[in-house]
């Protein structure tokens, strides 16, 4: 019997290219997210710019081999700047017929298609609801097809370890990963380190996964499977120390930073919900930073416990997704009425109702802006990239404390789980924002306001002489006593609105990217930033006069927005919803802005944006 080692290495051609998009697709149980994350980490460490798009089902384990069970992870890595995970893919790894069926349409013509041929039995085909075996029916002829017996080869690499068949098969994703590392000339070292850490107390599994990884690599090295391998040199990013960062991780780190910069204990009240739970997982690890995480009995207790913590003097946050936001609505109104600092994170997902728990959408904007009874304005900020979540967490905390208001952060599933290289900041570059609690009983009134911010004093329980009562009933200005008088109510409603409007003084004047004036202004918010940036670049390279404004502050809006609108002939507002920011801009500025709306649980493709831009430019 010949072994891999006995096969003489074949000489391959190596080609230098500037970017590639790779997608790992398989069953939910095939470890595609881990595989994708490993490749991402390796590419990032090598110095490529990256953007990722994990796309997985809401079911933990849908029936194996079926269409609903397909889980995918897409990575765009490049020696240039990248802003999106890429429209079409160069390399697809399909672990079964269902994964092939779902994903093959996105593979470029002549793209590399690695297929686990061991999972194309009659039974596999039936589970994927395909009648014909794609490996035999020539339907894949326009691709560079590489059928690989992933299971048999993995088992052969591991046969001497004495593992059962199931455990050996669990390693086949790393065999495929090893092949991809060979294909792109990547070091296996970071993944080997990860394996050694992950299976710290299970030496047999360390050995098995390492062997599978190296098996895949050697397989390519030793066989004539690929005639060519690729080299994608590091990108020229701004100098500094980098790490790969996902949106949820960045939010967590941002809040820990805000806690230190404000000198306040961080309290998180939260209830598990996709795709926000990772923020709770992350922050619960940081007890050594004094972080208090409270997994509440429901979404309402999550926000109200945070309100209690804020009342007691903490930097309090609550993290959720759309359905949880709906449940927190009344409590947010309370936070508005009692005027205490609180940060509410909505990691948006497809809706309505339970909707698409693992898919991305931007359809909670109007809920964030208006979704409370009566006049209850709240500042709303949106993060635009995974790493931007870090900065938005700090900014939202700062505003909440400075203005004594609840602040909503909008992120989404795409930012939450997607990753990009993050240049790690120097802590000394982030300003402190220390808090002054009220302590002086002389002249103390709970609703006496700071003239610049209209913030009321933060008077925490335990402070002698400041005993006072607050609550959701209308307050008398400035005593805080219950008051039902008509004019007092109107006055208080206007004060609360003026206070939120005053946050506009925190917003630097907006400056559009691209052309400062011209034929078209694209106005976006949130996670569409990358797609819009890419589309803008491509279109401007063709000589088109286009600007791009990406709004971080959605309430209040930047003061100079109206002036900017006047400098362009037309305005395009692309959103992953039915046109919510569009609605706001049309109402507030009376501009004839046009929407591009996609509600498919997926981000925009660059091509979709470019097509709309050209249509609007009459091309």
């Amino acid at each position: 019997m010949s072994t891999l080692a006995e096969i003489p290495p074949v000489k391959h051609k190596r080609e230098v290219i500037d970017q590639a998009v790779i997608r790992f697709a398989g069953d939910s149980g095939d470890g595609m997210q881990i595989t994708g994350n490993q490749f991402t980490n390796t590419a990032a460490l090598y110095g490529n710019d990256i953007a990722t798009f994990p796309d997985y089902p809401a079911e933990i384990r849908a029936p194996a081999g079926t269409i609903p069970g397909v889980s995918g992870f897409q990575l765009h890595f490049s020696s240039n700047e990248v802003h999106t995970p890429g429209d079409a893919i160069d390399v697809l790894i399909a672990m079964n017929p269902a994964a092939l069926k779902v994903n093959v349409a996105d593979l470029k013509a002549n793209g590399i298609l690695i297929v686990n041929s061991d999972s194309f039995t009659e039974n596999d085909l039936r589970k994927a609801q395909v009648t014909s075996n794609a490996l035999e029916d020539h339907s894949l002829d326009k691709f560079r097809l590489f059928p690989v017996e992933l299971e048999r080869l993995t088992r052969r690499s591991l046969e001497h370890l004495g593992l059962d068949a199931k455990s050996m098969d669990r390693c086949k994703n790393f065999f495929a990963l090893g092949m991809c590392y060979w294909l792109y000339n990547r070091s296996m070292e970071p993944t080997v380190r990860w394996i050694e850490d992950k299976f710290k107390n299970k030496p047999l599994l360390i050995e098995a996964n390492k062997l599978a990884l190296k098996g895949g690599y050697s397989y390519c090295e030793a066989t004539e499977a690929f005639q060519i391998s690729y080299e994608i040199p590091p990108a020229q990013l701004t100098p500094g120390l980098y790490r790969s960062m996902s949106g949820n991780q960045a939010l967590a780190l941002g809040f820990v930073t805000a806690s230190q910069k404000s000198g306040l204990t961080l309290f998180q009240g939260s209830y598990p919900i996709t795709p926000a739970s990772d923020i709770l997982h992350e922050l619960s690890q940081y007890k050594d930073f004094g972080v208090m995480t409270f997994q509440a009995e429901d979404e309402i207790a999550a926000v109200t416990s945070a309100i209690g913590a804020a009342y007691a003097g903490a930097l309090a946050i609550t993290t959720t997704s759309g359905p949880g936001m709906a449940l927190k609505t009344e409590a947010m109104g309370l936070a508005v009425a009692v005027e205490i600092p609180l940060v509410i994170c909505d990691i948006q997902r497809g809706g309505p109702s339970t909707g698409l728990p693992t898919k991305t959408e931007q359809a909670d904007l109007l809920q964030a802006l208006f979704g409370r009874n009566s006049e209850a304005p709240i500042p709303v900020l949106a993060a635009s990239t995974p790493a931007d979540c870090f900065w938005v967490a700090i900014e939202a905390s700062r505003i909440a404390i400075k203005y004594m208001v609840p602040v909503i952060i909008l992120s989404d599933g795409y930012l939450a789980n997607g990753a990009e290289p993050w240049r790690i900041p120097e802590l000394s570059d982030i300003p402190d924002f220390p808090v002054t609690f009220a302590t002086d009983p002389i002249g103390f009134q709970p609703y006496r306001r700071d003239p610049q911010t209209l913030a009321r004093p933060w008077a925490v329980p335990g402070t002698a002489g400041l005993e006072h009562r607050i609550g959701g009933l209308e307050k008398q200005d400035p005593t805080g006593n219950i008051n039902y008088e008509p004019l007092n109510h109107e006055n208080m409603v206007r004060i609360r609105a003026a206070k939120v409007a005053a946050v506009a003084q925190e917003i630097p004047n907006e400056l559009p990217a691209g052309d400062p004036e011209g034929d078209l202004l694209i106005v976006g918010w949130g996670s569409t930033a990358g797609s819009i940036t890419s589309a803008l670049k491509a279109q401007r390279a063709k000589g088109r006069k286009i600007g791009h404004l990406h709004l971080r502050y959605l309430n209040p809006l930047p003061s100079n927005l109206g002036d900017i609108f006047k400098r362009y002939k037309r305005i395009l507002v692309p959103e992953l919803n039915m046109g919510q920011l569009l609605w706001v801009l049309r109402a507030k500025y009376l501009v004839d802005a046009v929407g591009l709306n996609k509600i498919q649980g997926r981000p925009f493709k660059q091509a979709e944006l470019e097509q709309k831009i050209e249509e609007m430019l009459g091309l």
């Binding site: 980490n41 990032a44 460490l45 090598y46 110095g47 990013l237 701004t238 500094g240 120390l241 980098y242 790490r243 790969s244 780190l253 820990v256 930073t257 230190q260 204990t265 309290f267 940081y286 007890k287 050594d288 930073f289 004094g290 972080v291 208090m292 409270f294 009995e297 309402i300 207790a301 109200t304 416990s305 945070a306 309100i307 209690g308 913590a309 009342y311 007691a312 003097g313 903490a314 009344e330 409590a331 109104g333 309370l334 240049r423 790690i424 900041p425 802590l427 329980p461 335990g462 402070t463 002698a464 400041l466 005993e467 006072h468 009562r469 607050i470 609550g471 959701g472 006593n481 219950i482």
Partner: protein
Amino acid sequence: MGTATLPPPLTKKDFQTDQEVRWCPGCGDYAILSAVQAVFPELGIKRENFVIVSGIGCSSRFPYYMNTFGFHTIHGRAPAVATGIKAIRPELEVWVATGDGDALSIGGNHTIHMLRRNVGIKVLLFNNKIYGLTKGQYSPTSELNKKAKSTPFGSLDRPFNPVSLAIGSEATFVARSVDVFQGHLKDTLKHAAAHKGSAYVEILQNCNIFNDGAWFSLTDRDARSEHVLQLEHGKPLVFGKNRDKGIRRKPDGDFEVVQLGNGITESDLVVHDMHHPRPSYAFQLSHMEHMTDFPTPIGVFRAWGNVPRYEDVMNQQVQNVIAKRGRGDLSKLLRAGDTWEVK
């Protein structure tokens, strides 16, 4: 001498506010307010360390009338708000004022979870068996077939027994008192104040507008001793005008009412043990009022002090991690994991 520098002791007046009390004349809430204002100065706690948190309902106006820190929150959520306060400031003395609708209907979830966690919060549950502030609908403690505004043909749902519910939720301190029994109420509140964990006190309270006389059989001067059994730790379960009736355990474990005399003495009766390690005894006590001819117990059903407070273990966990790992270094945290340098 040194005593000259001590602040004068607090009095009941120190806990009264300048706000006009807006409960209906004759409401049982006045009696409860008065008892609390009388008890607070005796607890040896600084006034600024008291926080009263409430939800929505007549009882939840309570904080406005107490000259302490007060937070009138939203319907049913007071226990969750109070939990957040205690997490951050465990040393504060946090009391929740709530009602049967607030705590057991809309806020039922928070009530049971606060109790199972044993957060160090004192809960005053004003039970008048009716929705008062919304003008007279039946509540989750209203008796079956209650004819009220929303149930002209009678209510269809069986009521909660608030004491049973609390015991079933693993509450470590459960008591019951009555608005008009001022002495008993104050004693019960002091017991509750002394308890370290969650202390849950059901206060039978009369709504003289929408459910007048709901507790008449217990409060009527002539009838009360026949219908009320006052629980005293270490004492047999005796009641009756002439203290001639008692509760005896049957061979099958159930309770029975027995007439003392004819060879039956107090030594045959169940002796109250509020520190009983298992909740089943207190639960059985709480349920006997539903049986014909049985009295309604008041007093402390259960006081189980061996469970740590939630806010303490929560803060302790933070301290333990700090002791083990050292205080977190943010700069290191930001640089954690795999990093790479771009030159």
